[in-house]
């Protein structure tokens, strides 16, 4: 089964990976233990789970500006998501993706991306085309 999800054109390279999904928001400073590569904020719905090498699917960004540098720092150690998909990115997420060379897309035509994609789905992300394809569920 293949499902195509159109979105606004994003940033970064085309990538493929396994989705990790939550109806929650994202800040690299507020939510992550970047040394261990896990969500560390106890209130986060992905608390304790690794974000490395996954297609991370969340609602929106929250908090401050540090994520713009932190995505680059995480990617330099190969401890970063392959892509981040959001219902609504803020400016910081886009700026961080641009520096890190990380795939990022938002504004999905068919609605809430945290319900359109499920944890464990195999997903292909093509930011330039504004297209995300669920290749296997």
């Amino acid at each position: 089964m293949t499902i195509e999800l159109a979105c606004h054109a994003g940033i970064g390279p085309a990538v493929q990976g396994t989705a990790l999904v939550a109806d929650d928001n994202f800040s690299a400073r507020y939510d992550l233990d970047r040394i261990r590569g896990v969500f560390s904020r106890p209130q986060h719905r992905l608390y304790g789970q690794s974000y490395c090498d996954v297609i991370l699917v969340l609602n929106t960004a929250k908090g401050g500006v540090a994520t713009a540098w932190m995505l680059h720092e995480m990617a330099s150690r190969d401890m970063a998501p392959r892509a981040i998909l959001l219902n609504s990115a803020n400016t910081i997420m886009a700026q961080g993706a641009a520096l890190a060379g990380m795939a990022m897309c938002d504004r999905f035509v068919d609605g809430d991306v945290t319900t359109l994609i499920r944890t464990g789905d195999e997903v292909r992300v093509d930011p330039a085309a504004g297209l995300v394809i669920i290749t296997s569920r």
């Binding site: 400073r29 540090a66 540098w69 330099s76 150690r77 803020n90 641009a98 520096l99």
Partner: protein, 418 residues
Amino acid sequence: MRLSDEEQAMLAGEMGPACRWAIDHQLQVGRMFDAADMVPVSQAHMMADPESLGDAGVGFVEGLVKDGARVTVPMITDPRGVDLSHYLPLGQTEEMAGLERRFIAACTAMGIMMTDTCINYQTIMPPLNGHHVAYGDTGVVIYSNSVCGARSNFEGGPSALAAGLTGRTPRYGLHLDEHRRATCRFVVEIRPRDLMEWGVLGATIGRMAGSYWQVPVIEGIEGAPTSDEIKHFGAAMASWGSTPLFHMVGITPECRSLADVGGESLDATRIGAEELADLGAPFSAVGEALDVVVFAAPQLSLVEMGQVAALCAGRSRASGTDLVVCTSAQVYGDAARMGYVEAIEGFGGTVLTGTCFYQQYAREIGEANGWTRLLSNSAKIVNILGGYGYRPALASMADCVASAEAGVILPAGEGGAS
């Protein structure tokens, strides 16, 4: 995006590889947000602490220096991550300090002014109504947009640096009139009594607004808050909601009336004591042993330094409870001259200069000093530090100092009025 001849030349590398990186970065971001062109900026302000940068980020900036990078507009910096005069007692390492020194050297070589402050609107050069700027630090952006009437998106460190190099930024988001109109409306039924309560109110509205692209308009505030009050209000709103702009009817410059920002057609959400208590409830820990009191986020103004000093005078902290105050170098000089630093240090507190607590390897200094239970009057900092392994709690400035003296978190009001 439409580019001018000068911008085309930047992209072609005619102004060097650093400028080419900068405008290419800006084009990627601008296209994602449908920017039509670029807009000149009068100032840039960069958040770049070494914990966020890491070795990779510092190396990247050093590479720009080797490529001849030089800023073209006045560019200043957010708080640093290491106070180089006080890092070993804090439990920071030589490696952290070394990273900080390398980054400072790189910034200085590019012509960046190391102001190291998140209260530049109180201490350096506030922007004027209508100024387009490229500011980092959410507290700086929300104050500058809302209180000063300037126009800035959240510019993370890389984008602020790019703006400093090119002298412009993509024209999207809050540079455009249509994104400055109110999208949600709140009626405040209770006026905050101190800085902590102003922060809780801002946090409550930010949490309800919930997105960078929401613009709250707020009614019910009779009489203008002080600069410090609206500073805590805005910083907390930006932290909890990723909110870069609010309007306050009759108080902020773009909103003399509700109609000025299109707010009259929006449904109003009322905010009273119950809503504020709901936000504050997870940050109550009365009776628990207290490891550290922190006054920071944002850095303290001179007025706040005087208030903390007055509360500390003639008292001492409990032996098991530390007190940390973060301010800017600009404020520190006056605070020392006026005896405020001496009063805080006489209490047993530590005054850090040019840093902010959560930006200075908060996890590592917490582990080094055994700090878990933390008390602050900043609704911003308690939102941040949970992910760093702290158990943060909120209290007024007066209750924070009284609790530091007692070594346990006291009930609200025990410390007297702030």
